[in-house]
């Protein structure tokens, strides 16, 4: 499992260790350079003290002017270039390549000459048998004129044992390694502590979230002590939890409503069955008709719920097509015309025959049927239902269905589109499910439209649907 804490600690330790390593290499390089520079300076100083002379037999001789001080890491009791000294020299005649002189502490194996240019001083590392690693300087010595008779030109190599320098460098490497390891370990502890402290607000947030009871999500996450970086997260989580709780509450209410909706018909069925079984002489053929009615009523509720679920779940086709509005209204009125006639309710359709709107046929049908059924159900006897089209320009409009709803109160209007909401809680003589307007509302939303309800002072209920896109007839 990925862990921010471990990941942060790992990468921080890695990068800081790399910095430690780079620093170590830098320190080593600088120190090595300094030590070698010192050694080179010593060699150069010594080489500068070399003088060319002639011996009585005419041979060229080489001597060194005393330098007057002791080089570091040399035994003051041992003269330079003598056995026991760690300084060496060797000189060759530049023209013949013949060795002219060499220090007494050199064995037969001579020092190596490199190709050094005129006036140039060249330093290099070398190996000397019986000594090991040495540092050498090569230069030209001259006496007399540059060329011609009396000109003497020597190639001189002065060398020093590197053992002291290499020991110092080795010690430096060990010191740097130990320091680096200690540094890495200290870094690891510091990084862990810092990361732990830095991420503690996340733990606090996590603890607050862990404390959320799934049954009661109402929780205000405290962002008081959280760093500014986490406050938006805290706010977003609080909002998310609130939305989830609203969703759960809606689902709980819905489940409760569904259960409640079925309790009475089930109670009716059960009571009828128990009475018929216990007192068969009181049962009649009408009871079967009643059982059928109850079953149909329950089936209608289930069908409406499934339809609502399909619409809200997007499992319906949303394709739009041109629909003649007046014809559709009259077609949807047909199933309710008989009941309307029984209540002496008249439909007045104030929509021109030529009006064609762009809508989804199935959903428009559902909306109109439910709105008209609702109007017929709740209109008092002898009233009329008015369906009209309000034009907004040439291309758009709102369809309004208006009827008298004497029993409706102003606070009821905001609940009209809620599932299972009915003006009369008792459900006495209820012919529909309490889901019709909710279904109509969902259909309208699915088509990108709105359903708005308003109630006038004279208790005229108007449900408006829009915005409708007019294809023709405006």
């Amino acid at each position: 499992m990925r862990s921010i804490r471990q990941s942060l600690a790992k990468w921080l330790v890695l990068w800081i260790s790399l910095l430690w390593a780079i620093s170590g290499v830098g320190i080593y390089s600088v120190q090595k350079s300094n030590l070698e520079s010192n050694l080179d300076r010593n060699l150069e100083t010594l080489a500068d003290k070399a003088r060319v002379g002639d011996l009585s037999d005419g041979r060229t001789a080489l001597r060194f002017v005393p330098i007057g001080f002791a080089f570091p890491a040399t035994d003051p009791g041992v003269p330079l270039f003598e056995p026991g000294s760690n300084f060496f020299f060797q000189a060759w005649d530049a023209s013949s390549g013949r060795m002219v002189a060499q220090s007494n502490n050199l064995s037969t194996e001579p020092l190596q000459w490199r190709n050094v240019g005129d006036g140039e001083r060249l330093f290099w590392n070398d190996q000397l048998s019986g000594v090991g690693a040495i540092r050498s300087i090569g230069l030209h010595l001259r006496r007399g004129p540059a060329q011609g008779r009396g000109a003497v030109r020597l190639n001189l190599v002065v060398a020093n044992d590197r053992a002291f320098l290499d020991a110092r460098l080795k010690q430096l490497v060990v010191t740097l390694l130990i320091a680096s390891l200690c540094g890495v370990f200290t870094t690891w502890i510091i990084v862990r502590t810092v990361v732990e402290r830095g991420l503690s607000p996340l733990n606090e947030l996590g603890n607050q979230l862990s404390a959320v009871d799934p049954q009661h999500l109402r929780l205000q996450l405290s962002s008081e002590h959280l760093p500014v970086e986490l406050q938006p997260v805290s706010r977003a989580l609080t909002n998310l939890i609130e939305r989830m709780e609203e969703g759960f509450e809606r689902e709980r209410r819905f489940s409760g409503d569904v259960a409640h909706e079925f309790r009475t018909p089930i109670a009716e069925l059960r009571a009828m069955a128990e009475v018929a079984m216990r007192w068969p002489h009181r049962a009649s053929a009408d009871d079967y008709q009643e059982v059928l009615s109850i079953s149909v009523q329950m089936e209608e509720v289930i069908e409406a719920l499934l339809e609502l679920s399909r619409v809200e779940g997007g499992a319906v086709t949303k394709a739009l097509s041109p629909i003649p509005l007046q014809a559709e209204i009259l077609r949807c009125w047909e199933p309710y015309s008989e009941r309307a006639a029984a209540k002496h309710i008249e439909l007045f359709c104030d929509v021109a025959e030529a009006v064609v709107i762009n809508a989804n046929a199935g959903m428009l049908n559902l909306i109109l049927k439910n709105l008209l059924e609702n109007a017929v159900e709740y209109s008092p006897e002898g009233e009329r239902i008015v369906v009209s089209l309000e034009l907004h320009g040439d291309q758009t409009g709102w369809l309004a269905i208006e009827n008298l709803a004497s029993n409706l109160q102003f606070p009821d209007v905001e609940h009209l589109f809620e599932r299972f909401w009915r003006g009369d809680d008792s459900r006495t003589g209820v012919r529909h499910t309490g889901l019709g307007l909710s279904l109509a509302y969902s259909c309208a939303r699915t088509m990108g439209m709105e359903l708005l309800a308003s109630l006038s002072d004279t208790r005229e209920l108007t449900i408006r649907m829009g915005t409708l896109t007019l294809v023709s007839g405006s």
Binding site: L269, R278, W279, E290, T428
Partner: protein, 231 residues
């Protein structure tokens, strides 16, 4: 026993009416809260079955107004509302019992009978006066160990007299608690029932008469061989 059913569902109301009638109750039914309140306030019911979601006036309001009018009638709420809050509200409003729909009819009848008995201060389902015993659940009556066969109407009259043992019960009270329909003042249905009862529970010539007529007061069921106050 007389019961009032206040329920807006026609089917449920009818089923309950049949079940209570078959269990020996005289039953009145109304379908809305306002009429239910009026009936409960103006008639003497042993028990009222009251729905909550009613047209005109909801059941809780009916209950509150009934209690405000100092009525002690036993009320059983029958409702589809099943949450603890709903039950608490119903009981706090003055209900004696709360039953959630759908319910078991047998259980409902048992609760109705229990509440009816409590109206007369009786807890047991078995009533006894002297050697006359009545099991109100099994609908069985015995006298000195012998079974007494009674009609449904006779059983109801005897049950009412036994519940009010030692107290004079007027003919009107018997009519009001036992008979569904309005009984004509000239009718002798109560007298006929009492006559039949007397005969059936006194089949042995040596048995003590238990049903007595009190002139101008009605009937009383008591064992007069016992000292006063030992019924």
């Amino acid at each position: 026993m007389r019961a009032l059913i206040v329920e807006d569902s026609d089917r449920l109301r009818e089923s309950l009416k049949v079940a209570l009638q078959e269990s020996g109750f005289a039953v009145d039914v109304v379908e809305d809260g306002a009429n239910g309140l009026w009936m409960a306030q103006n008639h003497d019911y042993d028990v009222v079955l009251l729905d909550i979601m009613l047209p005109e006036m909801d059941g809780l309001t009916v209950l509150e107004r009934l209690r405000e009018s100092a009525s002690e009638t036993k009320v059983i709420v029958i409702s589809a509302k099943d949450t603890v809050r709903d039950r608490v509200m119903g009981l706090n409003a003055g209900a004696d019992d709360y039953i959630v729909k759908p319910f078991n009819l047998e259980e409902l009848l048992a609760r109705v009978r229990a509440q009816s008995r409590r109206t007369y201060g009786k807890g047991s389902a078995v009533l006894q006066v002297a050697d006359l015993k009545m099991d109100t659940v099994k609908k069985k009556v015995t006298r000195a160990g012998y079974t007494v066969d009674l009609t449904s109407r006779e059983f109801s009259v005897l049950e009412y007299l036994m519940l009010r043992a030692g107290i004079p019960v007027t003919r009107t009270e018997i009519e009001a608690h036992i008979y569904d329909d309005i009984v004509s003042p000239m009718s002798n249905v109560v007298d006929s029932a009492i006559y039949g009862l007397r005969k059936k529970i006194s089949s042995d010539p040596n048995s003590t008469p238990l049903i007595h007529t009190r002139r101008g007061q009605g009937y009383t069921l008591e064992d007069r061989t016992l000292p006063e106050g030992r019924q």
